[in-house]
Symmetry: C2
Subunit: 346 residues, 2 copies
DNA sequence: GTTAGCACTCAGAATAAATGAGTGCTAATA
DNA sequence: TATTAGCACTCATTTATTCTGAGTGCTAAC
């Protein structure tokens, strides 16, 4: 795309800004009055014709105003967006209270998603941070009542899983201790790939009569590691999508909301975000998004990082006609906050 | 409401059944052909006029067919519904595979909700079973690394909570053991109301230098008990609501879906269901539901019970024009299955 | 008690006309 | 050469109008 003149840029910006506000195609007359360029609508029309030829704006139909194309949004996002405004600052203060003193990661992430959705009026998602390769840190066994052993499995990133294992008859304390020592000596520091059939065999032999109990605990361990390995994604405000009728018919919206419920789509999105080398905020406009069904939507994502290198993603999903300014600065703020919170406590 | 003649009942049944199928007002001619009564449309019309006067059916407008009123649905549900059909049996078999071998309650309940929503095409919810008064069963403390104590708290119903407590410096093994014994001796069997300020004081004194660690664990315990006390509700298929356009405009649907996301409304519903003395399946038609915003919806709920008396609720939320037959028998089946599964393992 | 017949009603579909926002182009102007 | 006023033209949307047909209630005959 060729270089745009200062004036064309200003006009483009005005078009996009106005369209974001109203959702209606923007006419030349509006621009003529709206901007401080002091140009007549006719002049604007000429410029708009050029912009259209260059592919930054388009007409939904002959006698309508112009709306931005994906390329137009792109220029707007890349070059024309101003830094944060007061509104965002206000919201930051609102958030303050909400985010403090929540000390369980899950609760906190859910909360963040909620706040984000509420603040922006778009759909929000947040993916929990995940380490590269999960290792077992620690296993603890206890008889919790006469017929159940409780296995507490701690893996990297202090993700903790409990597994209740039914047994026919109670084990004596020292038996439990033995089993516990056995498992820890083999499994501490092991990742999923380390736990091979040979290791399992050896352990079983050493466990003697408790081989099957061990077996069940082991499958618990595997499950725990897998679960820690599975990226948790929390969402909120999916229904906000309904607020933007331009997304299309009920059919489409329905598919989208279902996708949101299933989270499969979001997973892809998160992976893509993390894999891309870009740091910080990423904006996907319409078809730029790495997933299907996003034609009429935009996605803004941000990456945050824990001290140990585990990374997570926050994202906003909304109509292409999204208040990018607000969303981007909100996300920026939020990642900073998240970084602070996590790296303070962790 | 007066007693209806056999024939009127048959006609009412035909109207409801037909309306459930098509969603369109049902005319006299349709009934005349649809049923095996061998009556002309004119006769049907006379009967329909009577039924309308009695308040079982109504006309959306003068020249339209009839649709059932809430009272009409009620009669249908109470008297006219036949027992389970083949379709349901098929689904039961489908479910078989899905439900076996899931051994964590949460995962399982989520799964049930999903399957239910998928099977019925309505929105499904399931509330986890809850005991009357939660008591602490067991607390276990471990140093998980140099700066964290892991507290595993087991409460009634084998609900397990983990709490990671940061400490300035590592505690020796026997210190941890001491703390552990201290806490267990005080807290085992205690419910939330039992943990009073006096008990806390005594414990703190005995904990000596570790008073503040104990304090933090205690707040973990309280949180755990509270969390176990809080009824978890899982939902699925909320977006199915979008499939039934008669629910109303986007506005209404949106409110409803939001309510679903928030779950507050569902909570009320569950409480109501459990408090009502009725056993088994309950059907709320339209305004009968104990919550707001349900004018155009029906709710079918079922209660299931664990061996220890903890009760949970499964529910289906859909349009008034719901396939009650299918829903009721599906729920019936499902409660039986749930009872089996839970009471086998528990 | 049941039914055929008929006039009547009325929501929704189909069609037509009116509106107006916005355009592109041309010719005049600075 | 860049800007602007003016004007004819386009077309989505709105509003008004007519058409259609499913369904009714009532009456009179069976």
């Amino acid at each position: 795309m060729e270089q745009l003149s200062e004036r064309k840029l200003k006009i483009l910006q005005a078009i996009v800004a106005n369209y974001l506000e109203t959702g209606e195609p923007v006419g030349s007359r509006t621009i003529s009055k709206y901007t401080d360029l002091n140009l007549s609508s006719a002049t604007i029309r000429n410029e708009m014709a050029d912009l259209e030829e260059s592919g930054y704006i388009e007409q939904p139909h002959t006698s309508a105003g112009r709306i931005p194309t994906d390329a137009g949004y792109r220029v707007y996002v890349d070059q024309l967006m101003q830094e944060r405004d007061n509104e965002v600052e206000e919201m930051r203060q609102e958030r303050e209270g909400l985010l403090e003193r929540v000390d369980r990661m899950e609760v906190m992430l859910k909360q963040v998603a909620k706040v984000l959705a509420y603040n922006t009026n778009y759909a929000a998602m947040i993916a929990a941070p995940k380490n590269q390769e999960i290792r077992v840190k620690f296993i603890q066994l206890t008889m919790v009542d006469d017929s159940h052993i409780l296995a507490v499995i701690v893996v990297d990133g202090n993700v903790i899983k409990n597994q209740l294992i039914p047994v026919e008859e109670p084990l004596a304390n020292d038996e439990v201790l033995k089993l516990s020592i056995l498992m820890n000596s083999f499994l501490q520091g092991a990742s999923l790939t380390d736990i091979n059939i040979e290791m399992i065999q050896t352990m079983k032999v050493q466990a003697g009569v408790y081989a099957d109990v061990l077996d069940r605990i082991l499958s618990g361990v595997v499950e725990a590691v897998k679960a820690a390995d599975e990226r948790q994604i929390y969402t909120s405000g999916a229904t906000n999508i309904l607020k933007y009728p331009e997304i299309g018919d009920v059919e489409k919206t329905s598919i989208l909301l279902e996708a949101f419920e299933e989270k499969q789509m979001l997973n892809e999105l998160v992976e893509e975000t993390l894999n891309s080398n870009e740091k910080g905020i990423q904006v996907y406009i319409g078809n730029e998004a790495p997933t299907q069904n996003m034609k009429d939507l935009s996605v803004v994502t941000a990456t945050y990082e824990l001290q140990d290198g585990a990374k997570g993603t926050i994202g906003i999903i909304g109509p292409k006609r999204m208040d990018y300014k607000k969303v981007v600065s909100t996300l920026k703020e939020l990642t900073v906050e998240l970084d602070e919170i996590f790296n303070k406590k962790d």
